[in-house]
């Protein structure tokens, strides 16, 4: 792909991601927010693909779009009480939220324009999946194993919360 198309898709996908993410936070309807999240997650997967992170892009589609989003929508559909409710917290001050957003935006602008970004020179792009697998089983062996403990802890915790309690006595 030449430079023009890379830029074109980058801008297209970024705009979709940002606008749909904005819709997710600003809409008052939970179902619409969930569906808008679809576009955010999908365009982020596209951004990964442009960055030649093919494995991450596939995982993003499989887990976030295919798994988590479906779970969220199922969660909404199965929970009638959250269907028609206002998502806004009346106590939250819009003024202070705005102040914090402006400060954060200034910091990020400073970061974006004040940094000489490391630009990767024009090396040929190669698939990363095999290399990722190698790294997971060599250099990042320990985090890889520890992550499985994390999943086990999550399962134990989720089971404890979700389990129906049998009344004794």
């Amino acid at each position: 792909m030449n430079g023009f198309w890379v830029n074109f898709f980058f801008i297209l996908l970024s705009l979709t991601a940002i606008l749909s993410a904005l819709y997710v936070v600003l809409t008052n309807n939970l179902v619409r927010a969930a569906f808008a999240l679809f576009f955010t997650l999908f365009s982020v997967a596209g951004l990964y693909a442009i960055l030649s992170a093919d494995f991450i892009a596939v995982v993003q589609v499989m887990i976030y779009v295919g798994g988590i989003l479906v779970l969220i929508i199922f969660g909404i559909l199965l929970t009638r009480t959250v269907f028609d409710m206002s998502l806004y917290d009346k106590k939250m001050s819009k003024f202070w939220a705005g102040v914090i957003v402006v400060i954060m935006a200034l910091i990020f602008l400073k970061v974006i324009f004040g940094t000489d970004w490391l630009v990767r020179s024009g090396t040929t792009i190669q698939p990363v999946t095999a290399r990722l697998g190698n790294i997971f089983l060599s250099r990042y062996l320990l985090p890889f194993e520890v992550a499985s403990v994390l999943l086990l802890v999550a399962i134990v915790g989720a089971l404890f919360i979700a389990r129906r309690e049998v009344k004794k006595r």
Binding site: I107, F108, K110, V111, G114, T115, D116, W117, L118, N134, I135, S138, R139, Y140, L141, L142, P143, V146, A147, V149, L150, V153, A154, V156, G157, F160, I161, E165
Partner: protein, 479 residues
């Protein structure tokens, strides 16, 4: 790449993982046979081993997994502390869980998992491994906070902690991504090599600021403290004690290691942030504690205030501030868990102590508990001859010699304020007529725990030199 597997450096983690899995299996079996679960005893053995390993191998240091895990004196000191904290929590938890009808093995299983995460956190400079460990710790503690899942406030506590903790982790991760973009590394020691010598890039500073914000959430520093009172109030009291001591100690140790290893000396922005946060945390923590009538909220604000004091030590790292923090963490662990343990010991069946009215005149019914409460609260306030006095003395001394005079002055002044709200609790315990004279049920394990904690608060207060030497020794390589 060479596989650099070194089982010695992950010995504490192996022990904890083993006990975590063993507890799971034993709990499942004892439930299917309908017998009382004994995972609490297993937990005691595991944590005793965790505390014993550093004592045995003290000073034998090594690194492994391509420099990802550092089993140095600092990690060993913290592992020892975590073992002690774990034991104390196991001693005080059964009584409370029994009182509220929720004596379940999962509490100890999750406690083990959480300690496992904490012990990994303090022995790595790799931010990826650190984040996974942080998540292990946090996930387990979220569930512990919501352990009384039929009680609305406990669920609220877990929920708030979970949402806020999730945001904090996301902020932390975003910071790590920025640091990676600026330095090409996620290991704090390699970041240091990139940062040293040249000007610190804005992207690295921005990233570190976000990483700091993530840490501030975990140690409950102002302005990231909003979740603390609600979560501490709603969570079961032993879980609250663990959040206030264990989680805070682990987050502080991680913050110390990562900050000191990656940016030393601090860039101006980092120093300014630390200064401001320490200032606000000491001020707001102490003044908000004054108006609390709920004892768990009071201790929550007091724990915020203590985080502020410890940030002083982080600022004054050149003048022994970090070893002062380590000593303070040790002292604070005994005194704070002790205060929560007294609340647990005063509780009745189905009616745990929470409000200050509930402890009116209890000292006349339970003189020993009253005496213990005096020791713990005096230590938290920093009154000699308790250990808290020396904890604060070392912190303020290092802050003054590092030139943070105003912060030290504020620390001393707010300590005087803190004396007011701690004494108020004691006034309620001693100066009022008890509303009912039925004594609370006695519990052997809480009694043992209280005796151990009172002893150490007094012991560390009379001979602090030995322990401060160990704390200085633990940090020699790091600073």
């Amino acid at each position: 790449m060479k596989l650099d597997i070194n089982y010695f450096v992950i010995l504490p983690q192996i022990v904890l993982t083993f006990f975590f899995l063993l507890q799971l299996v034993v709990d499942a079996y004892s439930r299917s046979t309908g017998r009382k679960s004994y995972v609490g005893y297993l937990a005691l053995v595991g944590y005793a081993l965790l505390a014993a390993i550093p004592v045995v191998v003290w000073g034998v240091t090594d690194t492994g997994f391509n420099g990802m895990v550092l089993f140095d004196k600092f990690a060993q000191f913290m592992d020892f502390l975590f073992g002690i904290v774990g034991i104390l929590i196991v001693l005080i938890a059964p009584r409370y869980l029994d009182d509220v009808g929720r004596d379940r093995g999962e509490f100890y299983i999750l406690l083990t998992a959480s300690l496992l995460g904490m012990s990994i956190m303090v022995s790595t400079t790799n931010l990826i491994l650190f984040l996974i460990a942080l998540e292990i710790m946090s996930l387990a503690v979220y569930v512990m906070a919501g352990f009384e899942k039929e009680k609305g406030r406990s669920v609220e506590a877990a929920f708030k902690y979970f949402i806020m903790g999730g945001v904090a982790s996301a902020v932390f991760l975003f910071g790590v991504a920025l640091v990676y973009a600026g330095t090409g590394s996620v290991d704090a020691s390699l970041i240091a090599k990139k940062v040293a010598g040249c000007k610190v890039l804005p992207v690295v500073l921005g990233g570190l600021t976000l990483v700091l914000a993530g840490f501030f959430f975990k140690i409950a520093a102002v302005p990231f403290h909003m979740w603390t009172p609600d979560s501490y109030e709603g969570a079961p009291t032993p879980a609250t004690a663990f959040m206030a001591v264990g989680v805070k100690a682990a987050a502080f140790a991680g913050l110390m290691r990562i900050l000191i290893v990656s940016v030393k000396p601090y860039p101006l922005v980092i120093e300014a942030i630390l200064w401001t946060v320490a200032f606000l945390t000491m001020l707001i923590g102490n003044f908000m504690a004054v108006i609390q009538d709920n004892l768990k909220r009071l201790l929550a604000y007091s724990s915020i205030a203590h985080a502020g004091y410890m940030l002083l030590g982080l600022l004054a790292y050149k003048n022994g501030g970090l070893s002062a923090v380590l000593f303070y963490l040790l002292v604070y662990a005994f005194a704070d868990i002790g205060a929560f343990a007294v609340l647990i010991a005063l509780g009745k069946d189905g009616e745990p102590v929470e409000y200050i009215d509930q402890i009116k005149g209890k000292a006349s019914i339970h003189p020993l508990l009253g005496a213990a409460m005096i020791i713990f609260l005096f230590s938290l306030a920093g009154v000699p001859p308790t250990a808290g006095f020396f904890g604060k003395l070392f912190l303020f001394k290092s802050a003054i010699s590092a030139g943070y005079i105003w912060l030290a002055v504020l620390g001393i002044l707010t300590s005087v304020v803190s004396l007011y709200y701690y004494l108020r609790v004691l006034v309620y315990m001693y100066m009022y007529e008890p509303s009912d004279v039925v004594p609370a049920r006695q519990s052997v394990s809480v009694g043992i725990g209280l005796a151990v904690m009172s002893f150490f608060v007094l012991y560390l207060g009379t001979v602090p030199a030995k322990f401060i030497d160990i704390a200085i020794d633990a940090l020699k390589k790091l600073v």
